[in-house]
């Protein structure tokens, strides 16, 4: 079996475990669960070495392939888990006759688009609530720091 085919089979196996687990019970921390499944499957695939007898170079290639695919899937999944405002706008515009801007703003309000994300930041430990104010935790600082650094590198604006 070529490393490419082996890598694809390992990915499919990981995805099936993911699908079955999600059908049994949806985990609270879905991204973390996905990382456990996919990276666990990668480590598990190394146990097939006696059967496939790949060289170290081939295993490194499979690892790069698998890690790349895992990251790509988790990034895509995050857009599935949380409704993207752009895709919500597109789906509303696709309704027969389209949609007016005021209809968009009425439907896609703070309660739909913003407040749940603020709660996600608390849930994921990126912010803490002291009194009525939100502050960044060290985890939140590290996370946003990466993006601020990169935005500055690109000389780009705030975004959002």
């Amino acid at each position: 079996m070529t490393p490419l085919l082996f890598g694809i089979c390992s990915l499919i196996s990981a995805w099936l475990i993911h699908f079955i687990w999600w059908r049994i019970k949806l985990p609270k921390r879905q991204t973390k669960a996905l990382l456990i499944i996919f990276l666990g499957s990668l480590v598990g695939s190394y146990l097939f070495q006696p059967l496939v007898s790949y060289t170290l170079a081939q295993w490194i290639s499979i690892t790069i392939f698998f890690v790349g695919a895992t990251l790509a899937y988790i990034i895509t999944y995050s857009a599935v888990e949380v409704d993207s405002p752009s895709l919500l706008i597109v789906r509303m515009a696709a309704q027969p006759g389209g949609v007016t801007e005021s209809e968009l703003l009425e439907t896609l309000n703070d309660d739909v688009l913003v407040s749940p994300r603020i709660q996600d930041l608390l849930r994921d430990g990126h912010t803490s609530l002291q009194g009525d104010k939100f502050y960044l935790t060290p985890k939140g600082r590290r996370f946003v720091g990466i993006f601020i650094f990169y935005r500055n590198l690109l000389s780009a604006e705030k975004g959002g």
Binding site: I62, G68, S86, I89, R91, V144, L153, G160
Partner: protein, 165 residues
């Protein structure tokens, strides 16, 4: 030995070429659009990968399976990089964290006044119209390109398949 090492790591080398190209092109505004800079970076990465394979493989046409594996690996890594840039550009979470980072603590009302739903919708609408994915038809907004609707429908299907929502 050296050639084997390079061929093993070539997806990462190609990603590095992609990233450097994209950063330089956009930072110095060689192209004004972030999306175009990402496309150029990806093309350079792809060219780098193919060129390295051509130069380093003992037999280019006999090692197509290795090339295919490396192309897919680079594709996934480049996709991840595209989304990393996209997160910095569009993610609500990142913008919210940035607003809190730049302040000395913010209440929910303060957060909403700096970055509320109206601003979010207007920015995204502007982007969708500029990218000709949505257009105005009188007072109404309608789909301009079916491809963006297909993407939205794929997301709906995946959500139904995995989350039964």
């Amino acid at each position: 030995m050296f050639e084997e090492c390079v061929l093993t790591l070539v997806p990462i080398i190609a990603l590095a070429a992609d990233v450097i190209c994209q950063v330089v092109i956009f930072r110095f505004r060689i192209v004004p659009s972030l999306l175009k800079s990402i496309y150029f970076g990806f093309l350079l990465g792809l060219t780098t990968l193919t060129a390295v394979h051509w130069l380093m493989s003992p037999d280019f046409f006999a090692s197509m399976d290795v090339l295919a594996l490396n192309l897919l690996s680079f594709g996934f890594l480049a996709y991840g990089y595209f989304h990393f840039i996209n997160l910095g550009e569009t993610a609500r979470r990142v913008r919210l964290l940035r607003e809190i980072y730049l302040s000395d603590g913010l209440s929910q009302i303060e957060i909403l006044s700096r970055y509320g739903a109206r601003h979010m919708v207007e920015v995204r609408l502007g982007r969708l119209i500029r990218n000709q994915q949505i257009k105005k038809s009188g007072p109404k907004l309608v789909i301009a390109r079916k491809s963006v609707l297909r993407m939205a429908n794929i997301m709906v299907f995946i959500k139904w398949l995995l989350l039964q929502k």
